[in-house]
Subunit: 354 residues, 2 copies
């Protein structure tokens, strides 16, 4: 038997190693937002493109252009199915990129949209998607100002893929560097709803549940929080890889430990039930309208009040505390007093969730 | 028999009609950059997203962000094969977006890159593509500052698709609105090389030719031209749809006629020969390192001198003149004294060229 200390030590050592991509072929896990994605990014993209903005490996890049401080962020959307309860690839593609700007402390201004369409894709479906994008953009106060359309032959795509890129202006200096031991970690609402909804919408599983995706634009609730609690250290939306992966990014980048009170993590009963049947931990399931906020402990209550008074933050909760030790790790404290290491997502339990 | 006047009148009337997308399904032509693409953009994207920046339907959008004037441009790359003589999808994706910024009068600064990878794609190929992107970015003086990776299952993509989005700062106010009757239209070098090279690289045709793609970053030659000839009205790179489609965009948007001296259009003999065998007109074939410049007639010689003194402009030539009449049309004058209407590309003779 190995002790917890030995496990922690092994994980710590593995993380210090220089990343190398050993896989000879791309697997679904490389797109899941967890360990394999990080290894691909660090070994391949970061190695080749290295520059200070990219090195931060944040949701977007903070840039200088003449007198402006901008955030640029991009995401490809390949969700399957294209339409699911609570949304579709269109509003997902707008909200996801708006949210990446918002959690970087930027006011979202402009989006671009690049479509890769499969020959034979119904134009009615495209219109439905585009209408949904237009409505989401209007709701978020951004303009879709430029775009591109490519068409590939049958069997070379899956209906419709969309890449949106967002530009915003920096209004708040948020950074994982500002995280300190003692800080509180909040989540803006119940987790895992988007991922579980999409999974069930595929109809491959014989599970019925009355679920809808949480896809929503976070610019407004984020603005409310940052105005009321300017001491906020950092924000991150919990998409691919889920809350657990974001917490690991925080612990790793800030060199702290994040200790999660697992009983405090808000999960709706039907989501928790579906996760149990699927055999997946909701902490690893993507949200598309929830974010984590790290705030000084003394601001936690004020921050929760602001979040809970917003329609998108009714279920906000404090779920974790930042500690000195063990640096770089996320630990879960269970209701029964046990402790487990909550690692970054490994593999891809839910492919093509966004 | 109908007269030329009747043909012109019919075309003119067709263009005044409000665009409607009649097709029930997406076809390859919707991605070809010609008529079907325009109809898709105008009927679907523009209708839904309408805003002043998008309405210009240029290579990118000119935006205000705090004190900066920016250009944002995006393009998806789905070229097949991924590697071809003279380049690959990687440098194409960087150069193409750098060029869209350059011809908008902007200094290219930052790129984002979003990858959609097919499960099973060789990581060695990905590394080769990424290295090529890094080299192209370095050559163009831009940083790739943020990105995204998605993986889809086998048979849901074709190896690797890349969407790059570029941000630049506006340095020159170029616009098709500035085009005037009497202006000269220049091309920076021999045309159609990229498209023909990619077509032959597919190996489906029994044609051998010693051709390489013209893919190249145009920021430097464009900067040289704009410094020497600040009177330059507008620039446009001739990608999908080729030179003919760009000339039609100019004629339509500026309400002028563009009269092409067909014998002056530079086409290398092996490219011309391949086009003849393929049964396609080089005027409709994509370049990835050539642009059109509209300049006042009195600046044409000075502009050609600047272009020809740059390594990427050795074959620059004056190919057309802007006229009052017939507005919105491109006419070709042949060596034998004949005249033909050179329309926007219809259909897609060369799918997945970029």
């Amino acid at each position: 038997m190995i002790t917890e200390e030995q496990v922690l030590e092994r994980i710590r050592r593995a993380r210090e190693r220089r990343p190398r991509l050993r896989d000879e072929r791309i697997t679904l896990a490389h797109g899941a937002g967890g360990k394999a994605t990080q290894s691909l990014i660090e070994s391949t993209f970061l190695e080749a493109f290295r520059n200070p903005a990219l090195e931060r490996l944040a949701d977007g890049a903070v840039l200088e252009a003449d007198e402006a401080r901008l955030v640029l962020t991009t995401d490809g959307y390949v969700v399957s199915p294209l339409f699911f309860p609570g949304g579709d690839i269109g509003d997902l593609a707008v909200n996801g990129t708006v949210n990446d700007l918002a959690v970087m402390g930027a006011r979202p201004l402009y989006l671009s949209a690049a479509f890769i369409l499969e020959e034979g894709f119904p134009t009615d479906d495209l219109r439905r998607i585009v209408t949904s994008m237009a409505e989401a953009a209007a709701a978020a106060g951004v303009d879709i100002v430029t775009g591109d359309t490519k068409v590939v032959g049958r069997g070379k795509a899956d209906g419709c893929y969309i890449t949106t890129t967002g530009v915003g202006v920096v209004r708040h200096a948020l950074s994982v560097d500002r995280v300190e031991p003692g800080d509180a970690v909040l989540v803006s609402g119940p987790i895992a709803e988007h991922g579980v909804t999409v999974m069930l919408a595929r109809g491959e599983l014989d599970i019925e549940a009355d679920l809808t995706s949480d896809t929503a634009p976070l610019h407004d609730i984020v603005a409310a929080l940052l105005e009321a609690v300017p001491q906020t250290r950092m924000l991150r939306d919990a998409t691919r890889g889920g809350v657990a992966t974001v917490l690991n990014e925080i612990a790793k980048a800030s060199g702290t430990a994040v200790v999660v009170d697992e009983s405090a993590v808000p999960v709706r009963p039907q989501v928790g039930g579906a996760c149990e049947l699927l055999g997946i931990d909701p902490l690893y399931v993507a949200c598309e309208g929830r974010f984590l906020a790290v705030v000084p402990a003394e601001c936690a209550e004020a921050a929760l009040d602001v979040l809970r008074s917003h329609p998108l933050g009714a279920g906000a909760a404090r779920i974790a505390t930042v500690q000195d030790d063990p640096p770089g790790l996320v630990l879960g404290r269970t209701a029964f007093g046990g402790t487990r290491v909550i690692d970054t997502l490994v593999g891809d339990p839910l492919p093509r969730i966004c």
